[in-house]
Point group: C2
């Protein structure tokens, strides 16, 4: 069980005051055992369902973006109309079930090290993302 104090700490680290709404967002995002893949719309609906409290969509967007900027959330590169985020911010990859529109974690061991031989002068690697699309 993740404690409210941890949520407050995460919020303060992200330069956000710990308000009721933001704590509720944290409850849904971080109070879990397993990694959580979501869109803003998923999160918005879950907050209503889980906490019984109403929240503005704008607040969800703002808070998610602050967490993303701070590194508490990861954005998953997928071609979709919606943006997907992940609470697992460690270096890992994904299956994407195209039909079900569902993401599944791939551990680094499932893929093995990826070694990039090419380099671009003046640029350094920020992240390496592997997306494996699945079909029936």
């Amino acid at each position: 069980m993740t404690s409210k104090q941890e949520f407050i700490e995460k919020l303060r680290n992200s330069s956000l005051r710990p308000t009721k709404q933001r704590i509720n967002i944290c409850e849904v995002l971080f109070n879990r055992d397993k990694t959580f893949h979501f869109t803003i719309s998923d999160l918005f609906n879950l907050i209503k369902d889980k906490t019984g409290e109403k929240i503005s969509l704008a607040t969800v967007y703002n808070t998610v973006h602050a967490f993303h900027k701070k590194g508490y959330l990861k954005e998953i590169p997928i071609n979709s109309n919606q943006t997907y985020f992940d609470t697992n911010v460690t270096d890992h990859h994904h299956f994407f079930d195209v039909k079900e529109e569902k993401l599944i974690d791939l551990k680094n061991e499932d893929i093995g090290p990826i070694e990039i031989q090419k380099s671009i002068p003046g640029k350094k690697i920020k992240s390496v993302e592997v997306l494996v699309k699945l079909e029936d």
Copy 2:
């Protein structure tokens, strides 16, 4: 120099009649030496610039989607507000220069084989995409 006949063939293969507008799209897309990464908006503007002829945005969307469906274009999974396409439909990967918002091809040799150890029952792998984000 790619010939008009090839464009017509590509169009017919995609179940599209070869109209003036679609030939113009082909000119911009396929009459090149190097691979071409673009958004619909890029393409729309280039058609005006290169051919001097006006085209409807809807026609660009429709034609690009038909080519994509047929496999003449590849969609590149990036988190961006816009969708990126690639005229290089061979199996390859990308650098994405986050600052410049620019894509750079990575040959398969630049990365080496990617072996997916995990599998999901009832599903098979449709594609494997590696996206390497670059920063300064």
